[in-house]
């Protein structure tokens, strides 16, 4: 028998001060955690801050800590995570809390830049397109990692990020790996130098929390392992600074 009401503990406050506050939310069929949070804001307390946009698992803005685990709330069904009718919703760990469930994501995205996560073009608009076959091995490796929506769930679930603040983290390194396998990119040496340092791929302990939690079922650990191999061989050949 389902409870008629869910008991939902929601973090209220900023990163320094705050507490979990209990709310009663009516249980609905096919209810998502984002529906629950929205109900609280619309019907119980309009001062609750949280972030969402697309509601269909594309934009990556609604990630929160749900019953202890980082999850995308728009695609997380209450029936899956709270069969006993008890739900705890907090901000993503590691990132600084702005207010309630909204976190500051600047560090997370700055690390993408630091990992040389941008494309370095080698051609101009006057050149012809590169012909890359979908079956090409490097293209297949790149394709396996490009569906990242930048939600920060892997980052928030990674203890290495928690222990080592400057660590680039699984998302930024996964992005770097997709570009390492992009044959059109001309910034490979700068990228390998950016991700080979102390804060780069070799800091990863292969705990695989990123693989476990990624809502898009990507595999940042495999990407980071690939970077470890590429940087190791580059160092042996004297290709790194």
């Amino acid at each position: 028998m389902r409870e008629e009401n869910l008991i939902v503990s929601v973090w209220r406050g900023d990163g320094e001060q705050g507490e979990y506050v209990d709310y009663r939310v009516p249980r609905e069929e096919s209810q998502t955690v984002l529906d629950v949070v929205t109900y609280i804001q619309r019907k119980i307390d309009p001062t609750l801050s949280y972030r969402f946009s697309c509601r269909v698992g594309m934009c990556g803005s609604c990630a929160m800590t749900v019953n202890g685990k980082p999850r995308w709330t728009c695609r997380t069904h209450v029936s899956k995570v709270a069969p006993d009718g008890k739900l705890s919703v907090g901000p993503l760990r590691i990132m600084n809390v702005v207010k309630d469930l909204s976190v500051e994501m600047s560090d997370f995205f700055e690390k993408w830049v630091r990992a040389e996560g941008r494309f370095h073009p080698t051609k101009t608009r006057y050149d012809d397109f590169d012909a890359i076959k979908p079956a090409d091995n490097k293209r297949k490796i790149a394709s396996a990692g490009i569906e990242c929506i930048g939600c920060g769930i892997c980052y928030s679930g990674c203890d290495v990020v928690a222990w080592k603040a400057e660590y680039l983290g699984p998302a930024a390194l996964n992005r770097a790996w997709t570009l390492v396998n992009d044959v059109r990119d001309g910034g490979q040496i700068a990228r390998l130098n950016a991700i080979a340092g102390d804060a780069g791929c070799h800091a990863c302990h292969s705990q695989q929390g990123c693989v476990e939690n990624c809502p898009k079922h990507l595999n940042p650990t495999a990407s980071i392992a690939g970077l470890k191999r590429v940087t190791a061989f580059a160092a042996l050949k004297g290709g790194l600074k």
């Binding site: 019953n67 202890g68 685990k69 980082p70 995570v81 709270a82 069969p83 006993d84 705890s88 760990r93 928030s156 679930g157 203890d159 302990h205 292969s206 705990q207 695989q208 929390g209 693989v211 476990e212 939690n213 595999n219 650990t221 495999a222 392992a225 470890k228 191999r229």
Partner: protein, 113 residues
Amino acid sequence: MRGSHRSHANYWAFGLHRISGILLALFLPIHFHVLYLAVHNDSVFDEFVYWAESPLVKVAETVLVVLLALHLTGGVRLLAIEFFPWRDWQKTIVAVTTGLSLATGLIFLLNVI
């Protein structure tokens, strides 16, 4: 239903590898000290060997063997992740490495008894 970002097999494998590594590092100076005794102080070494035959020490030795096996198989697992193509059966690998380590301890125990 509460959980943690840490509640999965690969995190436990990381934990086992870290704990076994720390315990082995603590054991190593003791090991070197006994080797030193064997070279420089025969009588104390003989006393130590006699003491080491006691059942409690044998149990501790079994734990040591399991720790060594855990750290060895865990290390091979990590090298495989980093230098071989990715395999999707990571949890199976964790189960096999842990099982092998416990089996090694059991074989050691059987030899002792």
